[in-house]
Symmetry: C2
Subunit: 500 residues, 2 copies
Amino acid sequence: MVGLGLLPAAPAGAFNLARSEKANKKVLILGAGLAGMNTAYELGKIGYDCTILEARNRAGGRIWTVRGGTTETEIGGETQTCRFDEGLYLNAGAARIPHHHQLTIHYCRELKIPLEIFGNFNEAGFYYSDSPKGALANQRVRAREIHADMRGQLYELLVKANDQKALDLPLTAEDADKLMTWLREEGDLNPGKHYAGSERRGYAVRPAGGTQAGEIGPAHALKDIVESGLTHPAFANIGEYTYHQQPVMLQMVGGNDYLPRAFAKILGDKISYGCEVKELRKTQPGVRVVYLDKKTGQTKEVSADFCVCTLPLPILKTVESDLSGNVKRAADFVPYMETSKIGLQFKRRFWEEDDHIFGGISKTNQDITQIFYPSYGFLGQKGVLKGMYNFHDRANRMGALSLAEREKAALEQGGKIHPQYKTEFENSFSLAWQKIPYSKGGWAEYSKSARERMYPALLEPDDDIYFAGEHVSHLTAWMAGALESSRRVVEMLHKRVSAN
Amino acid sequence: MVGLGLLPAAPAGAFNLARSEKANKKVLILGAGLAGMNTAYELGKIGYDCTILEARNRAGGRIWTVRGGTTETEIGGETQTCRFDEGLYLNAGAARIPHHHQLTIHYCRELKIPLEIFGNFNEAGFYYSDSPKGALANQRVRAREIHADMRGQLYELLVKANDQKALDLPLTAEDADKLMTWLREEGDLNPGKHYAGSERRGYAVRPAGGTQAGEIGPAHALKDIVESGLTHPAFANIGEYTYHQQPVMLQMVGGNDYLPRAFAKILGDKISYGCEVKELRKTQPGVRVVYLDKKTGQTKEVSADFCVCTLPLPILKTVESDLSGNVKRAADFVPYMETSKIGLQFKRRFWEEDDHIFGGISKTNQDITQIFYPSYGFLGQKGVLKGMYNFHDRANRMGALSLAEREKAALEQGGKIHPQYKTEFENSFSLAWQKIPYSKGGWAEYSKSARERMYPALLEPDDDIYFAGEHVSHLTAWMAGALESSRRVVEMLHKRVSAN
């Protein structure tokens, strides 16, 4: 009933666990990302004594907003300092909030972080297929042209097949007629049941005042669309269709690090920064953790009744530990996503001024894969585009380049879509998550077999050590995954303590 | 080339007409809506002496944002005063800005009015079909369920028809294979080429942390969708498809009256408020206008070299004039849209908290037709829904009701979609544009024959009287139509004056 929208779902709202005198326990949390901070925040509310060790000098982990002054050094890479102007930023990690990610939105509400719409899907975005053949190859084409022309021609095929009694429709004659009417409307077919272009694909000459009625350009033939590579998965309609990217999507006003910053402010000195975990030991009962205090260069240790480990698996793998074989195997073998991004600052928002693009994405089968247009600061002077967001091999290729080479490649490939790149570019900041210290990857990317064989080891405590983070969820890669997993650990741990 | 996106379109940007000494002319403008004010603003820049007569005590015409304290009395209706809380508003007229409406966006840029995304299309919106039969009738269904299930089942039909060689594909065998692969991906068909539901339709149990992988509900059968009336035009995918409503759409931060307010502020006392035009006379050369000064009750008159008349045609019809027969005929017979809206203030944003809806629209074949969720003030305490937006007969039926009856009907019909209406409602403000003084309709709704036979009379000056407004454009109903038409008149008039 709930899924069908018949009843409102129970809101994943305030989390009011009963305080218990037994909660007077020390909990040591590894990692001040969303999962770790949420654990400390919620356990703290009900009486636990929580401490977080965080290797970086900032909280948030992969919820990371890069602004002017941000400095980073990739593993084996050069140090770069961001030179974006005041007010411009790049969400280098988590960028989008699906409208149904209840916990992400719940904490934004609880911590008073304003949200605004993230324009994930924009019919004005461009497709650029780098292809050896095809009439539409190697040029930019508006998404709306491909969408309207595909829909029109496919629906025309359906209507014609039905006219030829070639469709096996599970409908009464009356309902089949209704469906055909619907197809003709949705496809914008003409009275001859033919798709001959549509205002939905945009105008060659725009409609305006007086006598200017507008002129619609000719439809792209199905043949040209397919031959030019525009049915390649690079141009899949993910932003329209998939559950986690459907409209409406949201973002935090000013940058998505407002959520981790809010948690970090509340937690204050419960977070120890610059503390790199080296060993994770079971003391039966309890845990002992050895870490390097980077501020002093000293090795220190700390004990607690419980540990909640939120280290990403590629980092957990590097920690000496008494963890079970199954957990170690998960840490060793669960694959993580290679993914890279570049923020490009331009001195003019030409995508808005010249191309009427306000948010959304352009797609290409070149290595940059995507260009994201900012959903904030519209009509301003300067702007920062996300000039690349890619995965797997493409991310590895771009990540392997020097910063200067990455910038050059991003400008060259993106410049094929936006010739204005040449004259308007100012500066860049790029990153490859697989090379970012203390993350070493974008997110856990479970194969079916990894989910079946390795994931279960992370679901139960390994003696007094619990696991949380997006990798302990079915919402991997999302802020909501980190939050859902940590709430689950809070419940499990509190239930165990209360029962004792 | 421009339409195909190969070259940036020339921006409809700054409007730098050459000043001319001959511009020392008096121009009397009727109506301080967008068209009238834009005319005065642009003619003023190049030296003309412009005056505007405006019947209302505010500028903006049908660009009207209703807030707490707004008062209105419909023709033959009761007086109502809006009781919305501070910060909440209803765009009673123009609500949406298409991303390609260059002039609307140009003036927002020039007058420094911030824009934000208007979420016109939301997969989380509901469809509610009031229907005597069908398994999905008389209940709310998420838009995403219908979209994903229709797409899946239609693409399955196409793939099957192709397997049976029943499609006449204009493609090589290799390209036909690519298209079939694309259809299977876009439709989310299973390896057996069958659509058996998809995550795109949403979850019956949401995916979360730990073991909660999520459960997808069963697909709605094509038969049930059609039989329940969900292929009725009431549920057409306008917000996704049509050129003027495609993502991304925009709105002005805080209310769309910021644009008319900015023009009015610049024009200052060039606008005379409370001046109702009674007569429009040709003095050959020049014009003479008789008007009622509502502040004093006195009838006055004013002369000028030229007149730019932006009165909506149903208002122009009521003015005594020397206008040509063709213009009078257009004023008499061009049909205007009947359309009504209601703003409903609720003490809790239940659509966000319970239903995860942030902006966008729910659709129904009931008289209310649509419910718009606000694209601003997310996560706030209270909110104002647009609880009705309808046209033609439905607007007439609702408009004919008393304010109390409208409120009751909107709550009853909308309450079928949102049972929370009952407990959360606080107050309302409603309007039917066909009953609003000085507008008497939503916008010019040209039939094909009216466009051919009556529209041309408005395109040329009738001696020294020019016509502007959305009704003198091919962008009727849009702010851009008013602006495009007025820029055109400015150019025409200045060209004529400069040539003399």
